[in-house]
Symmetry: C2
Subunit: 219 residues, 2 copies
DNA sequence: TAGATTGTTAATCGATTAACAATC
DNA sequence: TAGATTGTTAATCGATTAACAATC
């Protein structure tokens, strides 16, 4: 059965929402409540979940503890993922210090960098070692790393991605502003520059609309 | 005329591609060439552009210099946007050091933070001042800041967003893992935690498919 | 003119939503 | 049983794509 593309991100949103409902002491929820919190239609939430099974009880709703576990299975965060970050710069450091990721099953356990002055150092509040990029393949295998984060300049991104895939990584989170077309690996892009431009595009469109409606009032 | 939602991000991709074609010394391009580079259908590119005007010449293609300017108009990056970052942590610093943004019309000119030990300091390679969050409204007005970046914990994100909007900011780039529902402002989310989970979801789906196809071969 | 590539229409595809029977 | 809410079907909506006339 074909699952619509946007579902992957929404499942993650549902999980976040379920966690916060649980932290409020609640025990059950409904597609309506989730929909209100996430600004989504209840029918969309039910549909999304229905691709994977039946997680609720008719007349009652969803048991939060149960739904949380089901979502964690779907998102594959019922295990711990070993993660490396290639590029020991600011973004990499920011990620390494982001405690939330640890709680959610992502363990950042290695940095890789070209810069000799960084190699051998430890980074962030968790003191994560920086290895030479030369050692990447070896270390990725030894440390059982399954996810690689690309935080290098775009000129190096393709090379790094290929190295990661060759060493057996299953997924790549790509912060470099390039479209990587690579087989045998799942890629997720986080493109901050594009987000900035999408934002100013939307501001621009809105201002044009506002001007137009002002003109209409003039007539 | 209704413009499909995904167009905003694609326009930004076209712009990036046009810039890099120009830097390769090219002078014209075609929807086909752009499509190949971006893994998009040529007809999609032509359609996207057609919402806003006619930027090409039949039989010839698009003049790169001209197309670049047109895209910059559409994305509203034909001007300089003053930007502030609320939350002087790792992500904020990473953004402040990211030289690309400057080149593209985004000038990060202020940080705001709660932490007294940070207030008055200067951050990053550009030495951007950190002000108290108490001063936010005043400073945003004085410095003509039109875009606010939210890089605070999610518990504070809503408050910060409201302060930004009250001080007249037109757009918000939100790094906090919450859905902000606020009027009179354009919001763009960058949700790294969700991207991680979408990634492992996709890896999980792929592994299930692989197992299934192996089983089929067994029959 | 012949070849190329646009801009645009119409067809297709994919995602969302409403509606409702099933059932707790 | 009456009320609530699910899971699912079918209808709607929105986005993409193919096809082609227009034109450089």
């Amino acid at each position: 059965m074909k699952v619509p593309n946007p579902v992957s991100k929404r499942l993650a949103l549902y999980h976040r929402c379920v966690v916060s409902l649980l932290s409020e002491g609640k025990e059950v929820t409904s597609s309506q409540e989730l929909g209100e919190r996430l600004a989504l239609k209840p029918s969309q939430i039910r549909k999304d979940l229905s691709y994977f099974g039946e997680f609720g009880k008719r007349g009652t709703g969803y048991e939060l503890k149960e739904l949380k576990l089901s979502l964690e299975n779907l998102l594959s965060i019922n295990k711990t993922w070993n993660v490396c970050i290639v590029g020991a710069g600011n973004i990499g450091t920011a990620l390494a210090n982001h405690t939330e990721f640890f709680k959610e099953g992502y363990r950042i356990i290695a940095f890789f960098d070209r810069n000799p002055s960084k190699i051998g150092k430890k980074i962030g509040t968790r003191s994560i070692s920086v290895y030479s990029i030369e050692e990447l393949k070896e270390k990725v295998r030894d440390l059982n790393i399954e996810i690689g984060v690309i935080a290098v300049p775009s000129s190096e991104a393709r090379n790094v991605a290929e190295m990661l895939v060759e060493s057996g990584v299953k997924g790549i989170l790509n912060f470099a502003p390039v479209k990587l077309k690579i087989e045998n690996v799942e890629i997720e892009d986080v493109d901050i520059a594009i987000s900035f431009k999408a934002l100013t595009f939307k501001i621009g469109v809105k201002e044009i609309e506002r001007k137009r409606s002002v003109n209409k009032q003039d007539c």
